[in-house]
């Protein structure tokens, strides 16, 4: 069995979470469960972006004792890529905003029809 490094493990987890979330969005009938599916999809994509910034054997991009312990004098030779992590921080906040909005819509839909089954909302179907 060959050795799997951290980058591959997190990439695999990211891909699996994306598939699970996508499956949930496509198959579930309850609006709350669809929102949960979107959340899982979102988390999977975030893990995927962070794992693309992983550099083999390097430490977190915070300059403290852990960086000194890697034994390199140059900081850039001892940390993982900080840019994807900064982008994911933005993405998490946007994801929070989207989830909060979806929940508000779900509350509004429930008030309109007293149900959360997506099949009951067929007003635009003919």
């Amino acid at each position: 069995m060959e050795y799997i490094d951290l980058g591959h493990i997190s990439l695999l987890i990211g891909f699996l979470l994306i598939l699970v979330g996508f499956w949930g969005v496509l198959t579930q009938k309850n609006i709350i469960k669809i929102i949960v599916g979107f959340s899982i999809l979102n988390t999977g994509i975030n893990i995927l972006i962070v794992s693309l910034g992983y550099v083999k054997g390097k430490t977190a991009p915070i300059i403290d004792n852990a960086v000194a312990q890697t034994g390199y004098h140059d900081v850039s030779a001892s940390v993982v890529d900080p840019v994807p992590q900064a982008l994911v921080l933005t993405a998490i906040v946007i994801g929070f905003g989207v989830t909060a909005l979806m929940l508000a819509y779900a509350m509004k839909l429930y008030k309109a029809k007293k149900t959360l089954e997506i099949n009951k909302f067929n007003d635009l179907k003919w």
Partner: protein
């Protein structure tokens, strides 16, 4: 039936694409391009020990301003959708009695959670954390408060004022960067040598100030959204 087959087909095709990407992926062994520059020069140029914070607040500060704007937009749209009248804020909801454990634990935990949130956003330039995370932690304290007593009355005037004042302060500090330093949201507003000692609380120029305002704003905004969810329930 046809629907299930199509869904299975979509998932399988996606999985196949992911599998090809996964099997061809090789973990990187060194930084390149702009990341190389950020990692090598970030400590000198910005003075923040946490390089992610240096990128989020200074190198990509404009992006963070947009991020805060998007949160504000979310809160506004939710306020528009779940419109509350003045008397709704004073209405009480019939609810099951909350458990003794939750009420007692919340009295002990809420001050500690608030303190932890403030610690996280003030030390955003030194530790893994920052304004958004600290604000979210403060909002979990508010969520616990609402769960322990569903009829709790949050003072929404205070929430609105904290949110507005910190939002304006963020922009004002950005403009100060234009007057006193190199450009909009530059963190060297205390002069070129005013970055402070590297790795201490008072370092990295304007970053702790900006992140504290971001933390207060995010905390107030999420508390506001939670309050809206809670108070608009009684019609349902």
């Amino acid at each position: 039936m046809l629907r299930n087959i199509l869904i299975a087909l979509v998932i399988l095709v996606m999985g196949y694409m992911f599998y090809n990407t996964y099997s061809n992926y090789e973990t990187r062994t060194e930084l390149a391009g702009i990341s190389q520059h950020f990692a090598a020069q970030g400590a000198q140029e910005v003075g923040a020990a946490n390089l992610v914070t240096a990128i989020v607040v200074t190198y990509r500060g404009f992006d963070t301003l947009g991020e805060v704007t998007i949160l504000f937009l979310t809160a506004s749209i939710i306020a528009f959708f779940l419109k509350l009248k003045d008397e709704d804020y004073d209405s009480s909801i019939d609810h099951r009695e909350t458990s003794e454990l939750l009420v007692t634990a919340s009295q002990v935990l809420i001050p500690i959670i608030f303190l932890f949130g403030i610690y996280v956003f003030m030390n955003g330039h030194l530790t893994p954390g920052g304004g958004f995370q600290g604000g979210a932690i403060i909002a979990t304290g508010v969520a616990l408060m609402i769960m322990a007593n569903p009829n709790v009355r949050l003072n929404y005037h205070v929430i609105h004022w904290v949110e507005s004042v910190s939002g304006v302060s963020f922009v004002v500090i950005g403009i100060l960067g234009m007057v006193l330093a190199g450009g909009f949201l530059d963190n060297k507003i205390f002069g070129q040598d005013g970055l402070g000692e590297f790795g201490t609380l008072f370092s990295a120029g304007a970053i702790p100030i900006i992140y504290s305002f971001v933390g207060l704003k995010v905390g107030a905004e999420i508390s506001n959204i939670l309050n809206k969810y809670q108070k608009s329930q009684k019609e349902a």
